[in-house]
């Protein structure tokens, strides 16, 4: 792991106030629950370096909102210049964000949104649009697969999480008007490979004629591939697979023809975040919502893109 603590020579004792002309940034990450998240963390840690003029304080909330709130409070107490974080949940940030506002520390949201009414609590939100991702998948399915009636099974993300809700929503919005698309089963695979496989095995036992799998992320799609192969069918051919994320293993499977279509959800937010902070620091303004550029790949595009992918 190159993104460990070892290579960052930050002297913790100089945490407060101004240390030279470095910009103090406190970043609170959700956790490290997936490969996507690891890439996201790495991108941020690799960009906000001393060489680039940042002094990054990073903390991992272990998927707990209370830890994140605590970390943000601690950043306020330490007096950082900027706070950035990927909220675990959408709701419940008003109180701590108000504190940050009172302390005059600008807050930047990455990857996930908050649902505060008061938009002045944060400067900007940079990240993908989950509903849009689901929609793009749905549209591709409409155009490429659902030209005849198909049975779709859905592998949902963690119950109640924003990406799971939005990606389901987007897909349903896009395929609502298409009578050929029939979602015959939908279960949570918790965004993990193992559960993706388990649930897919169950689907295969219960339904003999599945045509398409819609997985909310690549990991569950990869798990589903294992299950389909174990049942003696060919993923990508007998049963088509579409998913979201575009992590390396997913792209590889796409290139190998086991997945049919992937909408990317770009984890490399580091450079964008650095740009925003630099802009703000020099007195500029930024848009309140910055949607990252997400590609979409079919099998041919994946073969082309694979050699140059960073993650």
């Amino acid at each position: 792991g190159s993104s460990g603590s070892g290579d960052s020579s930050t002297d913790a004792a100089t945490g407060g106030g101004d240390s030279g002309d470095l910009i103090n940034v406190g970043f609170s990450q959700v956790g490290a629950e997936s490969g996507w998240r690891a890439a996201n963390t790495k991108s941020i840690q690799d960009t906000l370096t001393k060489d680039n003029g940042f002094d990054l304080k990073f903390s991992d909330a272990q998927q707990k909102q209370e830890n994140q709130i605590q970390a943000i409070r601690s950043y306020i107490a330490q007096g950082v210049d900027y706070i950035a974080f990927s909220p675990v949940v959408e709701s419940g940030w008003d109180a701590v964000l108000e504190e940050a506002k009172q302390a005059n520390i600008p807050v930047i949201l990455t990857d996930r949104a908050v649902d505060s009414e008061d938009k002045s609590l944060y400067v900007t939100f940079i990240g993908s649009d989950f509903v849009e991702e689901g929609k793009r998948i749905g549209e591709w399915v409409n155009d490429n697969v659902a030209t005849e009636p198909i049975n779709v099974v859905e592998l949902q993300g963690t119950t109640g999480s924003a990406p799971a809700i939005d990606r389901k929503q987007g897909f349903e919005d896009a395929t609502k008007g298409n009578p050929n698309v029939k979602i015959i089963a939908s279960q949570t695979g918790n965004f993990t490979r193992a559960e993706g496989k388990t649930v897919m095995e169950g689907f295969l036992q219960a339904n003999p004629d599945i045509d398409l799998v819609y997985a909310h992320n690549d990991d569950m799609a990869l798990g589903a591939i294992e299950a389909i192969e174990a049942a003696g069918k060919k993923p990508g051919t007998d049963i088509k697979i579409v998913s979201i994320d575009g992590v390396k293993d997913g792209m590889q499977a796409l290139a190998d023809g086991k997945i049919n279509y992937i909408v990317e959800c770009n984890p490399l937010l580091g450079p964008d975040l650095a740009d925003i902070i630099k802009t703000l620091h020099s007195g500029g303004t930024v848009e309140p919502r910055i949607v990252t550029h997400d590609d979409a790949f079919d099998q041919a595009a994946a073969k082309e893109a694979l050699p140059t992918r960073q993650y």
Binding site: G15, S59, Q63, K64, S74, A77, S91, E98
Partner: protein, 339 residues
């Protein structure tokens, strides 16, 4: 023999036990003392390593950020003192939060919502108590089932996170009393401290409290001694459930939202706090104030990690584990040495 003068002389035929010298600390307080000592060491180390560490604001934040955990740990102390365990508290926190958020969005007033979400915890505690006492299901399993149950109800009530905009809750979450340099206390903190105070009195100065300890010492003896074992056993789960309901309310105030996935693993934090505070999981020995210290220790570990600020996700986990290890081993060694 030279030792003669040291041996107390007593008339033959009197059964005496050796009296412990006054200056010796009662053995029961030793684990708590261990916690205090190691806590002081951690503060000293943290203060020397990090700037702004030993400030009022940071210390106040520990209570502000953990007021719900204090309440959970207090409830858990009751259960653990009887030799039981309550795994459902994390899920009950989520359920209570979800229900309060749901009620607020459906136009209920705070005057009704707040009691309801505390009572939800009471009700779950009562169900657990009945399962444990009447049906003799082991606490671990009864509370595990209650945990699934509460979590399942969460998904039904609030499949996605719901913000709370009720003015009372907003007010509660924004109020700060204290000095300008950050040494402040929130209403939640006051509630948590009040719960601690009440629990302290109940455990140490009421018959119910003493029965809790007696059951932890030996349930069979307590029953043969004619103590109200049944009532007490059900009550401790009701108390723990109520504390969890209240904890859920405090968490709702803390985060101003209800979300079905909050509090995953929070029961382990509560248990860890209680045990670090010197309470034996076998029951019968421990103090509610120790549990509060346990929460402070966990909060301090988190604080140290954020102050370090350079730990990657995995080093965070490893460091938490290592600090926990250092803590329990040191505490244990202190206790052993004093014996």
């Amino acid at each position: 023999m030279a030792t003669d003068q040291l041996t107390p002389t007593r008339p033959a035929g009197t059964a005496t036990a050796q009296k412990t010298p006054r200056w010796r600390l009662d053995a029961r307080y030793q684990p708590v003392l261990g916690t205090v000592v190691v806590l002081a060491v951690m503060l000293a180390v943290g203060g020397s390593r990090y700037e702004n560490f030993l400030t009022g604001r940071v210390m106040a934040n520990i209570l502000i950020n953990n007021s719900f955990l204090v309440v959970l740990a207090v409830g858990m102390t009751f259960v653990i003192l009887t030799g039981g365990i309550d795994l459902s508290v994390g899920a009950v926190v989520a359920l209570s939060g979800c229900i309060s958020a749901w009620m607020f969005t459906h136009g209920w007033s705070a005057g009704i919502t707040i009691p309801v979400c505390v009572l939800v915890g009471t009700l779950i505690g009562l169900i657990v108590g009945v399962m444990v006492h009447v049906f003799e299901i082991q606490p671990f399993i009864a509370t595990l089932a209650a945990m699934f149950l509460a979590r399942g109800l969460c998904y039904l009530v609030a499949p996605e996170s719901i913000p709370i905009t009720d003015p009372t809750i907003v007010k509660l979450s924004q109020t700060r009393w204290g000095t300008d340099d950050g040494l402040v206390i929130t209403p939640s903190g006051v509630i948590a401290l009040a719960v601690v105070a009440v629990a302290f009195v109940v455990l140490h100065y009421t018959r119910f409290g003493r029965t809790v300890y007696a059951i932890g010492g030996s349930e069979q003896s307590a029953r043969l001694m004619g103590l109200p074992v049944a009532r007490t056993k059900v009550l401790v789960y009701v108390i723990s459930g109520t504390c969890a309901g209240l904890g859920g309310l405090l968490f709702a105030i803390f985060s101003r939202s209800g979300y079905s996935l909050t509090g995953v693993g929070m029961e382990l934090d509560a248990i860890a706090a209680v045990v670090i505070g010197g309470t034996l999981l076998t029951g019968g020995s421990g103090f509610v104030l120790g549990s509060v210290l346990g929460v402070v220790v966990l909060g301090l570990i988190q604080t140290i990690i954020t102050f370090q600020g350079t730990l990657s996700s995995w080093w965070t986990k490893i460091v938490i584990g290592a600090l926990l290890l250092v803590f329990v081993v040191l505490q244990r060694l202190l206790v052993l040495r004093r014996r």
